[in-house]
């Protein structure tokens, strides 16, 4: 199974992405719980990129390659925003009495994935998330 979903860098596009991912995963027989994990990962990553990634007001595109190979789902998020590796952000201090407001999204992404990696290639940020099916 291989597919690519392409959206513009606008927050309302998130619901398009959620619908397409849901349809794709459902057709592959994924459970509701698994689908929600993936939707959460996608929402956190795309929201970050759309909200903080671009310095201009132009339209950009974010591509998500989805594949299922040998029992592993792979989601590859590619954008042309400024170089940013979210995995370098320090983990939120969850024990602090004053709850952190930032850093929760990427923490959720890490916790729900089996493997997350980042590379900067040819002007693109590429974040790859793998999850066992």
């Amino acid at each position: 199974m291989e597919a690519t979903i392409r959206i513009a860098n606008r927050l309302p596009e998130l619901s398009t992405l959620q619908k397409k991912l849901t349809a794709l995963l459902k057709s592959a027989g994924a459970s509701r719980e698994f689908i929600d994990d993936v939707l959460l990962i996608a929402e956190e990553l795309v929201t970050n990129t759309v909200s903080y990634g671009y310095e201009d007001e132009d339209e950009h595109h974010i591509e998500i390659d989805v594949s299922l190979l040998a029992g592993r789902w792979r989601f590859r998020f590619r954008d042309d925003a400024g170089a940013f590796n979210p995995l370098e952000a320090p983990p939120p201090d969850l024990e602090a009495s004053d709850r952190p407001i930032g850093g929760l999204g990427i923490h959720l992404v890490r916790e729900l994935s089996d493997l997350v990696s980042y590379e900067r290639s040819e002007g693109s940020n590429i974040l790859t998330v793998e999850i066992k099916a």
Partner: protein, 122 residues
């Protein structure tokens, strides 16, 4: 992928917020504006029975409410967490256990306890 929010005011200090659907980046502002109209000096109970999904955007609103009630002498409590919501709260070790209740019975018992302490002047 939408969110509906109902509120109920018991008049006795308890404000219920009942969101149904999905609380994400795009729907979180709806909840935020509802909460802005409530008093942080009283008890706010989130009945999450109909909430299927929450993301960090939703968590932020709930933490903000928790903080505001704490500062104003109120309380923010949660009841009836569904599986995805519970999972997300667990991952971020979201709230002390005395803020989350599995049922209204459990929550009522807790609120009765507070009431008694007030009446007894403790």
């Amino acid at each position: 992928m939408s969110l509906e929010i109902r509120t109920e005011d018991s008049g006795t200090g308890l404000q219920k917020v009942i969101p149904r659907g999905r609380l994400d980046t795009n729907t979180a502002p709806q909840l935020e504006s509802v909460l802005d109209s409530l008093s942080p000096a009283r008890v706010i109970v989130f009945d999450l029975n109909g909430l299927e999904y929450i993301s960090s955007a939703g968590l932020r609103i709930i933490f903000k409410t928790k903080k505001a009630t704490l500062a104003a002498g109120g309380k923010a409590l949660m009841v009836n967490l569904q599986p995805q919501v519970k999972k997300v709260f667990d991952i971020v070790k979201a709230l002390p256990s005395d803020s989350i209740f599995t049922s209204w019975d459990e929550l009522d018992e807790y609120l009765d306890g507070i009431q008694r302490r007030i009446v007894d002047g403790e």
